[in-house]
Symmetry: C2
Subunit: 317 residues, 2 copies
Amino acid sequence: MNAVGVDVGGTKIAVGLVTPEGKILGEVRYPTPSSQQKLVDTIARAVSEVEDGSEVGGACLAVPGLILAQENKVVFSPNLRCVEGIPLKDELEPKIGMPLTIENDGNAAAWGEFRFGVGSEADHLVFITLGTGIGGGIITHGILMRGAQGSGGELGHVTIQATGPRCACGNHGCLEALASGTAIGRRARELAIEHPDSALGRLAASRKVLGEDVTELAREGNEVALSVLKEAGTWLGVGLAGFINVFNPEVVAVGGGVMEAGELLLEPARREVMLRARPPSSELAEVKAATLGAKSGVLGAAALARDASSGEYVLGG
Amino acid sequence: MNAVGVDVGGTKIAVGLVTPEGKILGEVRYPTPSSQQKLVDTIARAVSEVEDGSEVGGACLAVPGLILAQENKVVFSPNLRCVEGIPLKDELEPKIGMPLTIENDGNAAAWGEFRFGVGSEADHLVFITLGTGIGGGIITHGILMRGAQGSGGELGHVTIQATGPRCACGNHGCLEALASGTAIGRRARELAIEHPDSALGRLAASRKVLGEDVTELAREGNEVALSVLKEAGTWLGVGLAGFINVFNPEVVAVGGGVMEAGELLLEPARREVMLRARPPSSELAEVKAATLGAKSGVLGAAALARDASSGEYVLGG
């Protein structure tokens, strides 16, 4: 049966009606409202628009932040403060008239890539998403590893350099503090000061350099920008090597906006993985770009809704 | 039905006949022989001694090193070189007359603690063992997380300080390089030079200081030894915080010989976990001493053998 996937982001909400095979039959997008009531109403309206009278098995909401699965509640969502603490399931289910579950967006996207994307041939997938922050999700032995409360899979907040730079979470040396878009922008601004005559230095003199500027300059051949991506890719590799030793996955998929940089990040990451991961795990694991792009959240959420309602996969703690 | 657990260590082999409830009905120990043929013969003899004509469902061999589960083979075992590459299952099964599986010792011990020890009330357990090296095993959603090849759960070889000291595996800054017995001994020898008049310094002048000396001196109140354990415990906490964010477990159990130091290690580890792990995972996870001690390997291996033969748990990739 078809299912609805809802991907709630910091700036927009994407809602799709998805077949069991992963085909999106209809999709709508709305800007993310900033009040709780409008958020709930917008989601409810978007769901009724995409389902359009067809038979639908259920819906799943992918939300950025830490989820308390037993309560179907978002505990902490720094980029979407208005969802924190609302009983989303209780508020939305009567309005949309179908069973609803709540999932962390990284976990939902990982499930999307596992079902329909780069991990569809694998039983063991590490999915990591590089954006402003770093999120991810783990599939192990064909199961979405949610952990006891549904807040597992926080791959960005693993320490890889305890004395490293401060992370948005308050700690030092998290993977997110060294390989996210934010980290790339910060490092580029540091190097721009050291290289004022480079293209990066000149850009930094005119405005604040962001992660995406680094990719653009690197594509144009700027050496300083290339070195920033190489450094971030190497840190990414340090983190991925640990995940490979711990999870022994077939596939490590890297997605998110920062992956616009593609091989400029993945190539140094793979090199570091070969240094730090151990055989046989290091020989098996393929480090690849994710393939579903921004659709992974909607596709994964819909698949989770369907798998939950069919009993194929039991959500919850 | 009863099952046999075989714990193959670098210096001794322990073989036990274990009930489904985790009671050891009989146990024998032999020194670990250094040749392949003698190793196989010793294990076969030990198994026949403990089974003693009773009905036994199967046996499982817990072996230190990296396992290739599909082939029931040990790929890499630095402390037990003679088991590398032997078709242990094919050699042993005809001799012992029962189904045999091969498991990494950290995974087997984790399963023991999960079934009969500190994790018996949990569905999600991170088990870490601190000895000369660091090993471990993960139970997530009630499943032993072996990974695609059975070589998952290598918790000692996760980088927590990329620029840190060199590890036995060749990399820098692995958890093992900062919190194992070997790391504690090395750090104590460094500090002994800085503090020649301390009890630690005086011991170091007479012979090579080892990890266990540090625990003994710390128990006697030696400040330098206490600071070494505090530092190692803090590094342990850095690693555990990452595991808590990734796995969202109910229990984190710490075992192995180094745990003679007990709270002298666990207390600073818990403090660091509270700094680095995120709620709600940090609020749920209890960091505790493992309870089965040296029996965890035999108990876990036997439980895995039984669970495999009853179809309760399917071993393999």
